[in-house]
Symmetry: C2
Subunit: 201 residues, 2 copies
């Protein structure tokens, strides 16, 4: 059962998503969003302490289902671990490097040292994702499909390899649109290296 | 022979380094730096178009020699490639995750999408570093100490592995001070994975 406050929160999020989409982060103001939602500014700030927080909630809400769908590709019963990691890698990078998510990620990074926002986003985003990936790898290790190793570290290494050709260029704003065609070969290379290092001995 | 303009530039950089160190980036203003250097604001802005540019120049000037020293550890004549990569990895992470360099890197990332600053910094920093690393790996491949592969991609993979346990936590502001003791084992693990994947067959 939704409370009145929760209904208001959802209404704010829907309007904010529309406003950010239309005006971009810089030009969309809390005043503008407030005017479109209706009600007082105090109510708006009661739900979201800042424009950054509101934006990030909108972003997470939009990408959460996509990331969850990607993680479902990591079926622990699957026979072909390398194949599952390739499917996961392609899906994961496609979501992570989508314009919406890169914009949100850049904003978090810029704000991270100033607030508790970074810590919250880490727990909700990469922290959660890495834990799920580590769980899959651990199952594969137990089934003898990967050599025994520390699953959390193996998950970090896989993520590091998957992003190796993209991350630095993204961070410095040098990376422009990457199509799905470019992602495929990068993921192939990363998973090949991972399997050489972590494959069964 | 230094021109008068170059001498002025160096004087500005010395004062700016002191001012940023004393007040931090936010509180150090161009007016304050100008007052300490002496001379007109026009002259200051003639040398550095913005506070960001001035800060980054100071940062690069401070870390450039350290990064160059780290890259000199990659001696192409060395017999033990894994050992050289471990020495390089420890030195590289120690510089890259020093408080000074992380502050500069965070600033570039935050500013990258707004200006040409990101592109310039990429070329001067990671672009240059990755090229040097790729050169070393290529020599090792030619000597049969690593399997044949694309050197630029192998360099990206090595860097991705070296930073795998740190980067995401740094970006989200979750990472606090890492001591040299913590870096050692991380580098061991990364180089072990790299050598399993790229070692001679």
């Amino acid at each position: 059962m939704k409370t009145k406050s929760e209904a208001k929160r959802q209404a704010i999020l829907a309007v904010a998503a529309e406003t950010f989409g239309e005006l971009g982060f810089e030009r969309a103001s809390m005043s503008e969003i407030c005017a479109r939602v209706g009600g007082s500014k105090a109510t708006l700030y009661n739900h979201f302490a800042s424009k950054e927080e509101l934006f990030l909630t909108v972003m997470f809400q939009a990408s959460e289902h996509e990331f969850e769908a990607v993680h479902r590709l990591l079926d622990p019963d699957i026979g072909d671990v390398a194949g599952a990691l390739r499917d996961f890698g392609r899906g994961f990078l496609a979501v992570l490097y989508s314009p919406q998510v890169t914009a949100a990620r850049r904003l978090v990074i810029a704000e991270a040292h100033r607030s508790e926002l970074g810590r919250a986003c880490y727990a909700l985003g990469p922290g959660k994702g890495d834990a799920a990936l580590a769980g899959f790898l651990e199952t594969a290790m137990q089934a003898g499909k990967l050599r025994p190793a520390e699953p959390r570290i193996a998950a970090s290494h896989l993520r590091g390899l998957l992003e190796a050709e993209l991350l630095e260029r993204f961070l410095f704003g040098v990376l422009t649109d990457i199509g799905a065609e470019a992602l495929g070969p990068m993921v192939e290379r990363a998973v090949e290296v991972f399997m050489r290092a972590y494959g069964p001995t």
